[in-house]
């Protein structure tokens, strides 16, 4: 996107980057060699492309696959916010998140390199820029940068109270959830529509056939994924993108809790852009900075009027907690010796918008208030009839204290039966997975959700072990069931039941006489609760229109076979 020209304003902090005059190359012996930094910047751009492509690849590596790629959740494992919050909430050391320590260590070295080089949401927001941002970002109060620390504080405090609800704001979680529920289903829909159209014309039909043979079941999912709330979830990401209208990477500057956490660590960043004596306060670096992370000190201090000013403090400084290590400033600096990249033990500067006591108090207030309000939710008193959790995740308290709301499980589910919850476990469980058997059942042959879960909220189980996990119990509605209510022969639930001894009994055929005098042999299904595992294939396949005549309800995990049925 083109940038707005603001050459007219002498003190503008944001002038066009790479504008003529910004780099007086070839100015005699003072020629500055920026080639090295340009190469570094290109390296950063290349890394961003690679990590973003990797993220997308891994999204598909865990899409309706019975054997998902082993590292499909690798971005979460490197995510220190997810690690910190989940371990606090679970009150346990979770080994998969050990990789987050690598990110922390690298942040001590290089600051928020994650934001500038790795984070797929940050990369996306860096690519999607708006002309208006240059003009409008000046009007966004710098104090808004504190919001992200408040968000971080609330996430961490709530996590300490064993509640991960606010982790919906983790950037990796946000992006994965949106991709899962709207972007990928939309893409699949388009591909399938193109395939259908392409098949009607000879020359393209061959191409479609090749695409099908090669990609179906590996890249292309076996069925069209469908998710409730897809539009709403998409609009949330769209809003995050549209905030870029106000400022480049608005989310990263003002809102991102992961950015805030890394920013706090980056206060002790060891390797960073440094401003040296040669700086003449020209402001090129500040203009180049997309995050507006460079502060120019305006008073000149003492010095001879004829010579260079000799400031007592650095004339410009990089606020390490905001800097994403994009290196644009080093490329932009026109004076040799003015900027360098080096080692320092000095902590990064404390900016006026950095968090203070007030932010801590506000964050604590929000966290505690949320914990109290969520704790009074009705979901804790009454089990919602639709609260059917994935296999092995039946201990609701344990599950909620570990679930990142990342939706990896929903994406991998081969029947698209795992859906983001809205009311099933209250606001406390927002966007955690629940099984909606009418949409898709829990496949007897599948254990994929436990394999992709980054935090073990859904435990990894062998297929054999997963088959024994009771996730619910089926209940027949005799007022709707065809053989019971309408004397119409139907045994679909029984023939679909995957458990060896069949949890649905037909009890033999009986000759019945209908009201109109007609006779038929009829078998009426009943559920044997002690054998039912709640997979829901019966509910999914029930031929009755609308709600099924057999419905899976949550069961008490302590009772073998859930609840008894009359």
């Amino acid at each position: 996107m083109a940038r707005e020209d603001r050459d007219g304003a002498p003190n503008a902090r944001r002038a066009p980057r790479d504008a003529p005059g910004a780099q007086p190359d070839g100015s005699g012996g003072a020629r500055r060699r920026t080639g090295g930094w340009k190469a570094a910047r290109n390296a950063r751009r290349a890394v961003q492309i690679i990590t973003f492509a990797t993220f997308v690849y891994l999204l598909f590596g865990g899409l309706q696959r019975l054997e998902p790629l082993p590292f499909a959740d690798i971005f979460f494992r490197f995510d220190p916010l997810a690690a910190l919050a989940t371990m606090l909430s679970a009150r346990a050391w979770l080994p998969p998140f050990g990789l987050a320590l690598v990110t922390v260590a690298l942040t001590v070295l290089f600051g928020r390199f994650w934001c500038g080089w790795i984070c797929p949401l940050g990369t996306l927001l860096g690519w999607l820029r708006f002309r208006s941002a240059r003009r409008l970002s000046e009007r966004v109060p710098a104090a808004l940068r504190r919001v992200k620390y408040v968000v971080l504080g609330a996430v961490v405090l709530l996590a300490a109270l064993a509640n991960l609800t606010l982790l919906v704001l983790d950037p990796i979680s946000l992006l994965t959830r949106t991709a899962t529920t709207s972007a990928i289903p939309g893409l699949v829909y388009v591909v399938d529509a193109l395939e259908r159209a392409g098949m009607t014309w000879g020359p393209t039909a061959g191409v479609v056939t090749v695409v099908e043979e090669r990609l179906r079941g590996s890249v292309l999912p076996m069925i069209q994924p469908r998710y409730e709330q897809a539009v709403a979830l998409f609009l949330i990401l769209l809003a995050v993108i549209l905030l870029n209208v106000l400022a480049d990477r608005f989310w990263c500057r003002y809102l991102c809790p992961l950015g805030a956490l890394l920013g706090l660590i980056a206060k002790v960043q060891i390797l960073r852009p440094l401003v040296g004596d040669a700086c003449d306060r020209c402001g090129a670096c500040a203009r180049a900075c997309r995050l507006d992370a460079i502060e120019i000190v305006t008073e000149t201090g003492h010095g001879s009027p004829a010579g260079r000013p000799r400031p007592t403090a650095p004339v410009a400084s990089v606020v390490t907690s905001e800097c994403t290590m994009c290196l644009d400033c080093l490329v932009a600096c026109p004076r040799p010796g003015a900027m360098s990249f080096g080692l320092t033990a000095r902590p990064g500067p404390w900016a006026p918008y950095d968090p203070g006591r007030r932010e801590v108090v506000v964050a604590a207030g929000i966290g505690l208030g949320a914990a109290v309000l969520l704790g009074t939710g009705v979901a804790r008193a009454i089990k919602h009839p639709g609260l059917v959790r994935p296999p092995g995740a039946q201990d609701e308290g344990r599950f909620l204290s570990r679930c990142l709301r990342c939706s990896e499980c929903m994406k991998v589910c081969p029947t698209s039966g795992l859906q983001p919850s809205l009311t099933e476990s209250g606001l406390e469980g927002l966007w955690t997975p629940v099984l909606k058997p009418r949409l898709g059942y829990c496949d007897y042959a599948c254990n994929a959700c436990g394999q992709v879960c980054p935090s073990g909220a859904i435990p990894p189980l062998t297929v054999a072990a997963k088959r024994t996990r009771v996730i619910g119990v089926a209940v027949i509605d005799r007022d709707r069931c065809l053989p019971w209510a309408a004397d119409t022969p139907c045994i679909v639930c029984q023939e679909m039941c995957p458990v060896p001894d069949k949890a649905i009994e037909l009890g033999g055929q009986r000759l019945i006489t209908r009201a109109d005098g007609s006779e038929d042999y009829l078998a009426r299904p009943t559920v044997v609760a002690s054998r039912c595992i709640g997979c829901g294939i019966c509910e999914h396949k029930c031929p009755v229109e609308g709600p099924a005549a057999i419905i899976v309800m949550p069961s008490d995990p302590d009772l073998a076979g859930g609840v008894p049925q009359g």
């Binding site: 309706q64 696959r65 019975l66 399938d192 395939e195 259908r196 098949m199 479609v208 099908e212 043979e213 179906r216 079941g217 292309l220 076996m222 069925i223 069209q224 081969p414 029947t415 496949d443 007897y444 042959a445 599948c446 022969p489 045994i491 679909v492 029984q494 023939e495 679909m496 039941c497 995957p498 458990v499 060896p500 001894d501 069949k502 037909l506 078998a523 294939i537 396949k541 031929p543």
Partner: protein, 323 residues
């Protein structure tokens, strides 16, 4: 296969395919023999038939015994050999029953050795490609293909597993008056040879599930068939699909809790394979394995009434073999 009146374009395509086939045949016969390892007499017989053409080929072959591969080869050889059904350059689809993700010992899915032997024979007869596919009712195809053992066996035999995509179903006109227009997997109608390889199982809705019922795996809308009545609609679907060869796998049969089973207690070992071009007759014969008569399975009678095959086996040339 179903044959509708040819359009000019289709006729030209057939001419082109025929010409291509002849070219392919001339150049590749030796190579194919080398690839498929056709060496002993039975293999050759399974491809070419056992020379009984003059005496009149049997209407149906029923072979008892193991190994399964020999059993299937015998059944096909005595029926006239695979070349009777597959020509060089053909696009062949083998349609087993892979309804669930279960090992073959549970008799919910067609025996992998039966499927793989047919794939091998079709390849040996010069098929351009042999694809094996089903649309599992109780699981996803990837799991079912793998768990049933069919994927490994088929790929070893030179065939490929095809995942049936929702994008490839197309509404076709169906003869018979009840389904009228119904979605069918287009490849099943566009291929050159369709081989139906069901496993014989008890089934709650139709008494037994055999060859006729197995082709319900070719449609994306089973619900409509249930609603319109299975017997007639199964007959109509088969009238449209017209499989070229039917091989019923009764190596193991499932006598209760079909079609998905799951308990070895419901499985009976029979070591029988039934092959015929007339699937109605094959189904009628297979009811005997369950101690039933053809009338026990309503869709068999409905199909015979449509003229799709014979249910009265008394006058038919049914040959039984032991291996």
């Amino acid at each position: 296969m179903a044959r509708e009146p040819l359009t000019r374009a289709e006729f030209l395509k057939i001419l082109a395919a025929g010409a291509g086939g002849i070219v392919f045949l001339r150049g590749s016969e030796d190579a194919l023999a080398a690839i498929t390892g056709v060496d002993d007499d039975l293999d050759q017989a399974a491809l070419d038939g056992d020379g009984s053409r003059a005496a009149g080929l049997p209407y149906m072959t029923v072979v008892h015994g193991t190994p399964i591969e020999t059993n299937v080869r015998t059944a096909i050889a005595k029926l006239g050999g695979m070349r009777r059904f597959v020509s060089s350059g053909d696009d062949v689809i083998v349609k087993p029953n892979i309804c669930a993700a279960r090992a073959s010992k549970y008799a919910a899915t067609t025996n992998p050795a039966v499927v793989a032997t047919l794939v091998r024979l079709a390849r040996g007869a010069g098929a351009r490609r042999v694809r094996v596919m089903d649309n599992p009712i109780s699981t996803n195809p990837a799991s079912a293909y793998k768990a049933s053992g069919i994927k490994a066996a088929v790929e070893k035999a030179g065939g490929s597993m095809h995942i049936m995509s929702a994008t490839r179903y197309k509404a076709y006109d169906i003869p018979g008056g009840k389904l009228r227009r119904h979605p069918i997997y287009r490849d099943m109608l566009e291929c050159d040879t369709l081989i139906n390889v069901p496993i014989a199982k008890q089934h709650g809705s139709t008494g037994l599930t055999l060859a006729g019922k197995n082709l319900m795996g070719c449609t994306s809308d089973r619900g409509r068939m249930h609603n319109l009545g299975l017997s007639r609609t199964i007959a109509e679907l088969n009238a449209k699909l017209r499989p070229d060869l039917t091989v019923i796998d009764a190596v193991r049969i499932l006598v209760a809790n079909g079609p998905t089973g799951g308990s070895l207690a419901d499985v009976r070992r029979k070591d029988i394979v039934i092959a015929s071009r007339d699937w109605v007759a094959a189904d009628a014969y297979a009811t005997r394995l369950f101690g039933r008569k053809p009338g026990f399975v309503p869709y068999i009678a409905a199909s015979a009434a449509m003229g799709l095959g014979k249910t009265d086996l008394s006058g038919l040339n049914i040959k039984k073999y032991e291996v």
